[in-house]
């Protein structure tokens, strides 16, 4: 079972190892341009301190291109495609998932059949539905997993010692404390995820009835919603609302470290199940340095890197690796409990994401039925 070395698990170990040597040889001396979300200082620091040097040891230079939104990176690939470029693209690797991945897959933007050829892919449980499908869209080897996310909420334990246990309790709390609850408006990433969380818990029609019922008791009577998670965090930090939320399970830790949230903020999840997703890295088909990009993707799956990432002092992100497939010592490191009041040890019952095609439909329905 724990065939950590030698032929290992995974298809065609012999030939793929030779090809991998080719890839590594080709990658030496290349620069990989990795486009990723730039607004999280801790991710930037992790990439600079851990990933970049490790990659340099493999002879590859890392250049990060920080974007405000993954869509900006995908736009660039689309623009290149429109201009008729089929190689030498400026984007080598993108941190991506969900709708963005699905739209790119439909348009044939991503390199195919490479994720399974990575040596470290053997540590990943490909049978896990959250790894094999990205928002219900089959991954098909077009992207490699990197990070996990769970939708968590936050409350200040001084003001709200007893956070609501589920959505109905949340509605009751809003009724008892009008103007103290809000969520970002879709199509913001976090707001959209919150709506999906409600839909998963209640079913679509009842979910929208719930959101309409919640509206009059919300901050500013639900007529004005924050446009982004950052804005909601600002409201929470300034004590305007009592709840914050994020798809980043370690966001409370990050915000407290930033000095944004009070030290008494605590994360929690709702009983109806926690929306979870995996985020991946994808290589555009026209990338200039696909070999270097593959080496980077492989490095990101390295058990040591995943363990560093899971350390609450670094990022506190849960690992995408399957602990049962790791060698014993690596397993111990990965399973070490992240003991921090700002990180949840247990994210509750994971609930899978909806299909990527549903997301825009739900956002449009939200605009029509709730926002007006």
């Amino acid at each position: 079972m724990l065939a950590a070395c030698g032929s290992g698990s995974g298809s065609g170990a012999g030939p793929s190892r030779q090809t991998w040597t080719d890839v590594r040889a080709r990658a030496k001396g290349q620069t990989v341009r990795w486009w990723l979300y730039g607004g999280d200082a801790r991710v930037n620091a992790y990439v600079r301190r851990s990933v970049k040097p490790a990659l340099a040891r493999a002879g590859v230079t890392l250049e990060t291109v920080r974007v405000t939104d993954t869509a900006d990176a995908v736009s660039r690939v689309v623009a290149q495609r429109r201009a008729g470029k089929t190689s030498g693209g400026a984007v080598d690797l993108i941190w991506i998932n969900g709708e963005n991945f699905a739209a790119g897959k439909r348009a044939g933007l991503w390199l195919r059949d490479w994720a399974r050829t990575l040596p470290n892919a053997r540590y990943v449980d490909r049978g896990d539905p959250t790894i094999a499908r990205d928002f219900q869209v089959p991954v098909d080897g077009q992207e490699s997993p990197w990070s996990r996310a769970g939708f968590v909420f936050a409350a200040d334990e001084r003001r709200v010692p007893d956070p609501p246990e589920d959505l109905d309790a949340l509605l009751a709390y809003a009724r008892a404390h009008p103007g103290r609850v809000t969520y970002p408006a879709p199509p913001d990433f976090t707001g959209s995820a919150f709506v999906r969380q409600v839909v998963r818990a209640k079913g679509e029609d009842r979910a929208f009835a719930y959101l309409r019922a919640l509206k009059p008791y919300m901050y500013r009577r639900g007529r004005v919603l924050p446009k982004s998670e950052a804005e909601l965090n600002g409201l929470f930090a300034n004590g305007q609302v009592d709840l914050a939320m994020s798809y980043d399970a370690s966001f409370v830790l990050t915000a407290v470290r930033k000095g944004q949230f009070p030290g008494t903020a605590r994360p929690f999840v709702l009983a109806g199940g926690t929306l979870t997703n995996t985020s991946f890295v994808a290589i555009p088909a026209d990338a200039a340095h696909p070999a270097a990009a593959k080496v980077l993707a492989n490095l990101l799956l390295d058990p040591r890197q995943q363990a560093i990432k899971a350390d609450p002092d670094v990022l506190g992100n849960p690992t995408v690796l399957d602990p049962s497939r790791l060698p014993a010592d690596a397993r111990a490191r990965a399973v070490r409990a992240s003991r921090s009041p700002y990180l949840l040890a247990d994210l509750g019952r994971p609930v899978q994401e909806l299909a990527a095609a549903d997301v825009p439909r739900l956002e449009a329905r939200f605009k029509r039925e709730v926002l007006r």
């Binding site: 689309v78 429109r82 790119g104 600002g234 004590g239």
Partner: protein, 274 residues
């Protein structure tokens, strides 16, 4: 009347570098935007994107709201700009530096500052213990108008002041000597000098207010949205097909701005009789 060597051909030659630059660089970009709105990635050309745009929920309100915010911002900025120019006409360096300060602050920063100061929980709220009126994120778009006036009134004032130099002061004095009343001086001497830069500047301000998305993104309401926010959100949804809709929305705004500019140029020319 050209006593300059080269005559008409010389004039065209002088206009060529700037015109060609704009034609090649910008013209190519504009053609690309039009193409994006008409040709989806990997599909046949068609009006899909335009149709989808017009039928999107909230499109009609977006058009009305954009027009409302643009007109209000431009008129208020022009009025304030004129007042500032008149007040600071004979002042010195310090006053003009202060006037130009908002011009150095880009719109994005100005909007961020507006949120920092004027939002609930912002600095003004903490100082005054509560603001009576919603300025940020209100449905009338007051926050947007405020940021644009903060930025553009000084810009317009500077344009106007650039047109009033010592030559104008001389002409005003000459008119006064000839017996013109203050009103007559204003109407026949000052206003014609001020009118052209003000008009041109206002058109630029209107075009910017109609088309930029950073300010409504930060201080504008969720609903109704502006056309530029529409474009931005379209690309956030489905990146591949959303670009067509975004391009269509922005070209719509451009059409309005170009029409406005053409009218303004025509108006200025008619009045000048040039």
């Amino acid at each position: 009347m050209t006593s300059r060597p080269g005559g008409r051909r010389g004039d065209l030659a002088r206009l060529a570098p700037a015109s060609l630059t704009v034609l090649v660089l910008f013209g190519g970009a504009l053609a690309g935007a039009v193409r994006t709105s008409l040709v989806p990635l990997g599909g046949p050309p068609g009006l899909e994107a335009w149709r989808a745009l017009v039928h999107s929920p909230g499109f009609g309100e977006a058009v009305r709201f954009t027009a409302q915010v643009t007109v209000l911002s431009t008129l208020l900025a022009a009025g304030a700009g004129l007042a500032l120019a008149a007040a600071l006409r004979r002042r010195g360096v310090v006053a003009r530096s202060l006037l130009a300060l908002p011009v150095t602050v880009p719109h994005l920063l100005a909007a961020t500052l507006a949120v920092l100061w004027l939002a609930p929980g912002g600095v003004a709220d903490r100082l005054l213990g509560g603001l009576p009126v919603d300025i940020v994120r209100d449905r009338a778009g007051l926050g947007i108008v405020l940021v644009y006036v903060y930025k553009e009134a000084p810009f317009l004032a500077l344009l106007v002041l650039a047109g009033c130099g010592p030559a104008l002061a001389e002409r005003e004095e000459a008119a006064a000597v000839l017996g013109a009343t203050p009103w007559q001086r204003l109407r026949w001497v000052t206003w014609p000098a001020v009118r052209a830069p003000l008009l041109l500047g206002s058109v630029i301000v209107a075009a910017y207010a109609a088309g930029a998305f950073e300010v409504p993104l930060l201080v504008g309401p969720n609903f109704p949205a502006t056309l530029s926010t529409f474009a931005y959100e379209a690309t956030q949804g489905d990146v591949v097909t959303g670009q067509g809709q975004a391009a269509a929305a922005l070209l719509l705004v451009s059409g309005f701005s170009v029409a406005l500019a053409a009218i303004a140029v025509r108006f200025a020319r008619d009045v000048e009789g040039a």
